[in-house]
Symmetry: C2
Subunit: 334 residues, 2 copies
């Protein structure tokens, strides 16, 4: 593995705190690295910036491919920067999923926003195999906050696992949907609807306006069937047309209102406290996996065992134990 | 933690191979235990029964609560046992999910089947916190096979993560759905539809027959939009009425046909080979997590750190490293 050139810890911290985009990007690349030496460095950078993080409103956005997330973020983001906000957009790529969508494939996405100096757009790398993607996105978010961004949007495609991860790091979770035909394949699972703070019917434009209104009523009724949230917030259902820029101001007003209420009733902070504990646990898992699966003796032995595992000759659980013992015994020698 | 009385390794192995239900149940309880001493014992039992496993057709069944899974398994299972099959039914409980469904809550489920000597029904325990639930289900499946069951049904509710786990241990994956209104909240995500080998529209009875036929056509069309599977199997869409026992024979014929084709083209075995490698990786994760989070020094230190983690005073990733180092340093002393 080729080691990339790195900055001293202080340079990362200073650069990020000054809002230097170049350093911010390099710092995110650093935290995304799976090299052990990078990880140690990243931990120091994170410790340095942590006291300066936490001052943004953290918004998660999900929805299946085709629902119009890019256009939504582009035009919603434009409203935010024009109101004087500093906006960071992070995308979680649900790697290791068969139908991952194309968050990262399309380079022309959010063209206007990405050329706007008041916004910063950062996709996560594809194919990060060993868990950790969500943990890295969390660190990218904290870095963005330390760099002065006061609104962070975290985008994910609506295919399952990544929503739980995003929900675990944001204050407000927004689900984009479409009205009308094909809803059964739109495929948003009940669990995702339950975790959202707002359900937005996008593409409420042209001949689709009536259908969107109808869908809004249906979803509003359906949401009543869910148990009340402990924070006292009743999930809102709204329509918008991201492409025609209608309904977007109202969405921001709603999020602002959410932040006010949740700050007053203490839930914003108590939710973040819980998230920090989850962050600890996730990072422990990440450390365990990355140190294990990158351990040279473990890798070598695993190669030897694989044919017998595949054929069913060896018991996977007995060999898992052998590999784990090997790892523990040689932890210092790698 | 109270240690339950255990049998010697040989007694578990002999009892399971003789098809003794009582011993089978105790063996499954053993593999589900998170006690380190039980885990060691379970590994030996698994190693002993492994050569006798693998002879069943493994079928995964999912669908959201209300779709009629219990009735389906009850009456589909009845057909199988009447054809002379030995049937084991395992349920995965998606613990740690907010909307877990009620797989385990309803004790009157599958009443007829559970009193049938040719069938064996085993739910997974609720609330197993540290991953591993799916790994334990896999071991329960292998134990059932060694006990002579030649059809294993693995049931899960359609709320996300657990489907991926089930897909990773079965030969054939079956998705139950309903026709008609409310499909948007029926909430089956695209990823689950993509991984299924058959999509069954249940409750095709009474005034619902036409809607079910229509839904069948729509889903059949929709499935054409997905890329072809590498095994050459084209996912089937069928209707049935589990309660009226119609369409169930056809489903078994289809699964039988699938097994024939996949045995001939080698995919049944190559798929299982891949699954065994995943099993190894999953079990390593399970070992790491259970040995870490049950480590007494780690637990003690974590308690001390939690207030500072919650308040944001400590960096979660720095403290994760500290805890991980503590674990590695004291691995033999717990």
């Amino acid at each position: 593995m080729k080691k990339k050139s790195r900055l001293p810890v202080e340079d990362y911290i200073d650069g990020v705190l000054k809002g230097d985009r170049m350093v911010l990007s390099r710092a995110i690349t650093l935290v995304e690295s799976s090299l052990p030496s990078d990880q140690m460095l990243a931990e120091k950078v994170m410790e340095g910036i942590l006291p300066y993080s936490g001052k943004s409103i953290r918004i998660g956005i999900t929805g299946v491919p085709g629902v119009g997330k890019s256009t939504f973020i582009e035009n919603f983001g434009k409203i935010l920067v024009e109101r004087g906000h500093q906006l960071a957009v992070l995308a979680i790529d649900p790697s290791s999923q068969k139908s991952g969508g194309s968050i990262l494939g399309d380079k022309t996405r959010m063209e206007a926003l990405s050329s706007d100096k008041r916004a910063y757009i950062r996709p996560s790398p594809a194919g990060a195999a060993l868990g950790g993607v969500s943990a890295r996105t969390r660190e990218a978010m904290l870095l963005c906050e330390a760099a002065g961004f006061d609104v962070v949007l975290i985008e994910t495609v609506g295919v399952g696992q990544s929503e739980t991860a995003v929900k675990g790091m944001v204050d407000f979770f927004l689900l984009l949907m479409l009205a009308g035909a094909g809803d059964e394949l739109q495929g948003i699972k009940k669990g995702i609807i339950e975790m959202c703070d707002a359900l937005i019917i996008n593409k409420a434009d042209g001949s689709n306006v009536e259908a969107a209104k109808r869908a809004k009523r249906e979803y509003a009724n359906a949401l009543h069937l869910f148990p009340a949230k402990e924070n006292g917030w009743i999930p809102q259902v709204k329509t918008c047309s991201a492409i025609e820029k209608s309904g977007l101001e109202e969405i921001w007003t709603m999020i602002d209102d959410f932040r006010d209420k949740m700050t007053k009733n203490g839930f914003l902070e108590s939710n973040r406290q819980e998230q920090r504990v989850n962050w600890l646990q996730e990072h422990i898992r990440y450390l365990m996996e990355s140190s294990f699966f990158h351990h040279s003796q473990v890798k070598k032995r695993m190669e030897e065992l694989l044919p017998g595992i595949k054929s069913g000759k060896f018991s996977a659980i007995a060999k898992a134990r052998e590999l784990f013992d090997l790892f523990l015994k040689n932890r210092g020698n790698d």
